[in-house]
């Protein structure tokens, strides 16, 4: 038995054995962490979910369960599925924006194909000097790319 019980065994009011499965992931200094997962999933379900994975994955399981439980407590209706919904919407809008901008480029290209080639050289030079974190080597301008 450990001298200091883990947060799970404290809340469950039981002895905390040295091989307690909750001990590494629910330390006694953070009772809220176990309280949230216990409220949403229940201690036995959490224990089962920890046991069914490899030991090196259990920390990630505990963290992801905590995050999902937190989201569910904050938003009892949608939980973290609400976040997924928002991301789907944002991706859809970004895809629409991208398609719109590409269509504008196609239109300009169609209107001035010769000018586009000349401008392409300038774009390559500009992008080579860019310090932005998101510019990749693939972004060198190729008029035929679009």
């Amino acid at each position: 038995m450990t001298c200091t019980r883990c947060a799970a065994c404290k809340q469950l009011r039981r002895r905390c054995p040295s091989n307690c499965i909750f001990l590494p992931y629910f330390p006694p200094n953070n009772p809220q962490r176990f309280s949230y997962v216990h409220r949403i999933y229940g201690a036995s379900n959490v224990g089962k979910m920890l046991q069914q994975v490899e030991e090196h994955q259990r920390a990630d399981v505990a963290d992801s369960l905590y995050y999902e439980a937190y989201c569910r407590i904050k938003d009892p209706v949608y939980g973290c599925v609400g976040i997924i919904t928002v991301l789907h919407e944002e991706i859809y809008h970004a895809q629409c924006q991208l398609a719109k901008v590409q269509a504008e480029i196609d239109l300009l290209k169609a209107q001035a194909p010769v000018q586009g080639e000349l401008l392409g050289l300038q774009v390559n030079e500009f992008l080579a000097n860019q310090n932005g974190a998101y510019c990749s080597t693939q972004s060198s301008f190729d008029p035929s790319f679009y």
Partner: protein
């Protein structure tokens, strides 16, 4: 003696699974039809029947169907990815969003040159989106024990896709 409760003609999926009598005021019956046994089985495996009832009791009646749908979805994703569950799905979507934002930035730079604007720098007018920290609840305290799990899934999201199933979310319940 047997209970005087009237028998339901057809038990809901929950009562069938739990092997109990399905009463007319069964709280599961409106949401777990008898022809969808797997739905309740998954939810029960991840959350447990009593926890589902507690969660349903916290929300208004008109929102309970959405609550059940989100619980079903979450349970399915968790069973498919026992390590990361919906967090893996969120990380994958954030990665896709970051790629799209990058593509949009590059494409707008190209458009700026095509338009031959007088200003020397290509301005990107899209909303200042930080894909690494998007959609995180603002009051969430990161107390991860895995060496910064949330840091790793937001900043090293390429490393998250270990299960191979984060792009397959099944039928999304909320179109």
């Amino acid at each position: 003696m047997k209970s005087n409760e009237p028998r339901s003609t057809s038990s809901c999926a929950a009562c069938k699974f739990l092997k109990r009598r399905c009463t007319p005021n069964c709280q599961f019956a409106p949401y777990f039809r008898s022809d969808e046994p797997k739905k309740f089985a998954n939810v029960h495996k991840v959350f447990g029947a009593s926890n589902v009832i507690k969660i349903l009791n916290e929300v208004p009646h008109d929102q309970r169907e959405d609550t059940v749908n989100s619980l079903v979805y979450e349970a399915e994703v968790r069973l498919r990815d026992p390590v990361y569950g919906c967090i893996g799905a969120i990380a994958s979507l954030q990665r896709k969003m970051a790629e799209l934002q990058h593509d949009l930035m590059v494409t707008r730079s190209h458009l700026a040159y095509y338009e031959a604007k007088p200003s020397s720098t290509a301005s990107c007018s899209f909303v200042d989106y930080d894909p690494l920290n998007a959609n995180m609840p603002s009051d969430f305290v990161d107390t991860s024990v895995s060496g910064g799990f949330l840091d790793s899934f937001s900043q090293n999201i390429f490393n998250m896709d270990q299960s191979g199933s984060t792009n397959e979310f099944g039928q999304f319940p909320f179109p």
